[in-house]
């Protein structure tokens, strides 16, 4: 998965019409609430074939920047 695909995944998971980019986070996206985050974690794990459920810090990654950092560190993002 690359950055662009991650942005699209977040958009799909949160079912938002707002553009998702590097600056998006739980504060500036209404749909990124606690339920939205659950949907996001679920979609991410599905896309990355079960490789993200063991990364507990994803639970508190409330911005695209944080998600990118964690996924890159775990070699799950190109």
């Amino acid at each position: 998965m690359n950055e662009k695909e991650l942005f699209q995944l977040i958009k799909t998971a949160l079912k938002t019409k707002t553009k998702v980019d590097i600056k998006s986070n739980a504060s500036n996206l209404d749909e990124w609430d606690s339920i939205g985050h659950l949907l996001l974690l679920s979609k991410l794990d599905q896309k990355l074939k079960g490789k993200t459920s063991k990364i507990s810090e994803l639970a508190s990654a409330n911005s695209v920047k944080k998600l990118l950092r964690i996924l890159k560190r775990n070699k799950l993002l190109k």
């Binding site: 606690s34 659950l38 079960g50 459920s53 063991k54 507990s56 994803l58 639970a59």
Partner: protein, 314 residues
């Protein structure tokens, strides 16, 4: 079939509330909430109802031969008091014999599976004829009105089951505990951490609990199958703790399970904590969906973190 419907019962409070009503009252998005949790109705105990009173009502539905009960195991995280243990109060209220063992197990969603293992272990000693296993909780009393993640999920309920040596042809259990997640589902301001003037209040980090479940339950199922030289195809039903739709859907996806092997009833009654699995067992037995020789796997997981899985052959 070994388990009779007269041996397993449950009791929900009368107060049934729709999630639609709760969402409307709090200005929460109903469609999004239900699409994620899958829960449309929950049951709330009233001010005078407690886990104990629900437990008694559940036991009253059993065909209980009181003289045959040699042990009482009560699973709860809504005890009547810190002391004495509620099981002792239950022994008296149910008018059970006095020469029995009775104790509480303080566990939540994995509690039924753990208690079943304890009951089966007792029975194997041949010192016990029948064990009465009761699960009962009233988590909703710990939930504040603005707590969206808990208020839209948890239901109050009691379940009761009579277990004898012949109840199951075979049982096998595995367990797991990870207290590093203890703060992620917790009743704050309770027990020794009670602070004067503050009510006990439940807190759940649903995201962390979801990740714990997704990363542990599939491995557990694989482990118990391997331990018993079985494959998924050998199992009639997988009865998971009814946490919520998103949890169950993810487990089904990760384990590539067929949906007709996973019985779910969260939509109509919500997450009843330690009672979810006995309630499903009751429904399956009542609807004659379990036959002699069938193998099922039960798995409870959550608060603790704690996880327990059992293979039951009927």
């Amino acid at each position: 079939m070994s388990v009779k419907i007269s041996d397993i019962q449950y009791k929900l409070p009368k107060n049934k509330i729709s999630i639609k009503k709760i969402c409307r009252r709090n200005n929460w998005n109903y469609k999004k909430t239900v699409a994620t949790t899958g829960i449309k109705f929950i049951y709330l105990s009233n001010k005078t109802e407690t886990a104990l009173s629900l437990a008694i009502k559940s036991c009253n539905k059993l065909k209980l031969n009181k003289s045959s009960i040699d042990g009482l195991i009560y699973v709860t995280q809504s005890p009547e008091y810190i002391l004495p243990s509620t099981s002792c109060i239950l022994q008296n209220k149910l008018k059970l014999k006095k020469d029995i063992i009775a104790f509480d197990i303080n566990q939540g969603c994995s509690g039924f599976v753990q208690a079943l293992f304890v009951a089966m272990s007792f029975l194997k000693t041949n010192k016990f004829r029948k064990i009465l296993l009761i699960c009962s909780d009233t988590y909703t009393k710990y939930i504040k009105k603005d707590n969206k993640s808990c208020q839209t999920i948890f239901s109050d309920c009691a379940s009761s089951m009579i277990i004898g040596k012949q109840t199951f042809k075979k049982t096998s259990f595995i367990f797991g505990t990870d207290g590093s997640g203890s703060n992620n589902l917790i009743v704050k301001n309770s027990g020794s951490n009670y602070k004067k003037g503050l009510d006990p209040e439940i807190f759940m980090d649903g995201k962390k609990v979801l990740l714990f479940t997704m990363s542990n339950v599939p491995n557990f199922i694989e482990k118990i199958l391997k331990k018993n030289n079985l494959r998924i195809s050998d199992i009639k039903y997988f009865l998971f703790h009814q946490a919520s739709k998103i949890v169950l859907d993810n487990l089904i996806r990760i384990m590539k399970l067929s949906k007709n092997k996973v019985y779910c009833n969260y939509e109509k009654i919500g997450n009843t904590v330690s009672s979810t699995i006995p309630v499903i067992m009751h429904d399956l037995i009542k609807n004659k969906k379990i036959k002699k020789g069938d193998k099922i796997i039960i798995c409870g997981f959550g608060v603790g973190y704690s996880i327990a899985a059992g293979l039951l052959e009927f």
